[in-house]
Symmetry: C2
Subunit: 335 residues, 2 copies
């Protein structure tokens, strides 16, 4: 090989590498810069090295590199309540002028008085009433637009950030790192599948077809000669706890080799993942950072973490101590 | 650019092209060699050229190039009855020694006497009994193995081929052609999702997570310390007719730009696809070849094609006349 041929080799090799990484120049340096050099980061890197090294006994072909992520409290924040609940409360206020009867009907009356605690004290029944009033009886396209519009303007009461700016920077890096290593990344969340899909591709790089979540039933019909899907007031599937492995099997049809969660709602997903043959990786994000984020676990109504933490110790899963293991929590702000 | 640099450019350009096409050398020649040069082939090529040409007003970004395919009668044959029904009948015979009561219970008694017509005369109720007896009350992993074992040995009564050798060669080429042009190919079938997933990746190049189908409910539980998913005797979802757009929305979360079917069970999927904005492609396979395959449409109990054919004419969808438009039906045999 003469000198200019060799030069050309390296130029085009570099181009191939850049192309294969979706146009982004590869950092030969640290792929997880927002993670401190503590043990969780090392476990992640070791696992990825192990399953991607050809010839290694633990090598996993790319098609089987399935990684599933919980959303609330794992990829974005979930305090003081699930962001989808805040969305529902906001929608009740927006829709109230068309529903004068809500002034005297619970849970709506409390919501309109700004008394969220009383509104939610009705438990599941109250929540279902609110979901029905705010998430159903419109087409899938109309709901997509409502969610998109809300996210474009709503701000978190404590941080003043847009909700999509309350995603975790270390987890964004982790998603990108796994994908750069041939993993296919999925969301498997108790949150509404149609509430997440309008924005997960832009924010997480996860396309709609890789989002698994809870859902209500929809109905196909022709309206004014145009086919539409109408969102009904009937639950279809709850993608939480024992529902997560069911949802994974239904949507993905193979068992993940890596799973990431933060609460007891993720326990069965992690158990299902861990029980497969060959190398497995399970991780829990433990919310320990009251200063930069929130600190909660056993006594929290959202992101309740108790049994899964016990199981993590028993099975030696990786537990992220947010305060000590993350250099940065949220992405740097643009505004 | 000197001469050897230019030479290196072409060598590495070729390598990139080969790499991007998954290791297979690109045929600059005909990507659809089993299609005659009749109008359906031309419509396919025109559509693909149109949506993939950067700068064209009809350009569609790769992420949105979703193509959905029916399975029975569209990707593989479906006569003299759906292959999954043949599987169920075979399973009844295999399981019969453990069920002496079947000798006097319908539809099992008729199946065991070899009288399929009487067995199926019980309609949906009889079918459900057989599905329950043959598809449920085992783990998802056990069912996967049963399907795999059956496909490895069972042979079609008329052709003597394995069922996975009764796929349509022109459709295999079409799947590969679309994927080489940045499309993501999905199956959307009335058939059982767990009946298809064990073999679609190997046969069609479609991974489990891109298979949408009908399903029964599953239940997560820990058995002897090991988490399993048990298949229940309760229907979960029928992915047929108006269920197809619902299934597409549930699994994929975006509207296809191209859809392929062969019966009235595909009508709503094609309507849903056609109604989106921008360029759309809808195709029906019309079974017109009694010699090489089967000829049937309006009067057939499987693959009933009537309303969809009328709609295809009204909306100018592409209709494949199998006899005239396909050079070859099945892949050349290996054995």
């Amino acid at each position: 090989m003469n000198v200019s041929l060799r030069g050309a080799y390296w130029i085009f090799f570099a181009l191939v590498v850049v192309y294969l990484n979706d146009g982004k120049v590869v950092r030969a340096a640290d792929p997880l810069p927002s993670w401190n050099n503590t043990s969780p980061k090392q476990s992640i890197v070791d696992f990825v090295d192990n399953v991607t090294k050809e010839g290694s006994p633990d090598f996993v072909p790319p098609a089987e590199r399935i990684a599933t992520f919980d959303n609330d409290g794992c990829l974005w924040a979930e305090q003081p309540m699930y962001f989808q609940a805040i969305f529902a409360l906001d929608r009740v206020k927006v829709l109230a002028p068309k529903h004068p009867e809500w002034k005297t009907q619970e849970p709506f009356a409390s919501v309109l008085k700004g008394d969220v605690k009383s509104a939610l004290s009705g438990g599941e029944k109250a929540l279902l009433k609110m979901i029905t009033a705010t998430h159903a009886r419109m087409t899938t396209e109309e709901f997509h637009e409502i969610v998109t519009d809300w996210l474009a303007t709503a701000r978190h009461p404590k941080t003043g950030r847009r909700y999509t700016e309350m995603v975790y920077q270390p987890m964004l890096e982790l998603l990108a790192y796994l994908r750069a290593n041939g993993f296919k990344t999925f969301i498997v969340s108790g949150g509404g599948i149609e509430f997440m899909r309008p924005w997960t591709e832009q924010v997480y790089g996860i396309p709609p077809e890789q989002v698994v979540g809870s859902s209500i039933k929809t109905h196909f019909e022709i309206r004014d000669g145009k086919p539409v899907l109408v969102r009904l007031t009937e639950l279809n599937f709850i993608d939480d706890k024992a529902g997560k492995p069911v949802g994974i099997n239904q949507h993905i049809g193979r068992r993940p080799i890596a799973a990431f969660g933060n609460s007891d709602g993720d326990l069965q997903m992690l158990q299902w993942t861990a029980a497969g043959e060959g190398p497995r990786f399970c991780l829990l994000v433990h919310h320990t950072d009251a200063q930069r984020e929130w600190a909660y676990d056993r006594n929290s109504h959202v992101g309740h973490l108790d049994k899964a933490l016990v199981e993590a110790q028993r099975q030696s899963w990786t537990v992220v101590d947010m305060k000590n293991d993350w250099k940065q929590v949220y992405p740097s702000r643009n505004d």
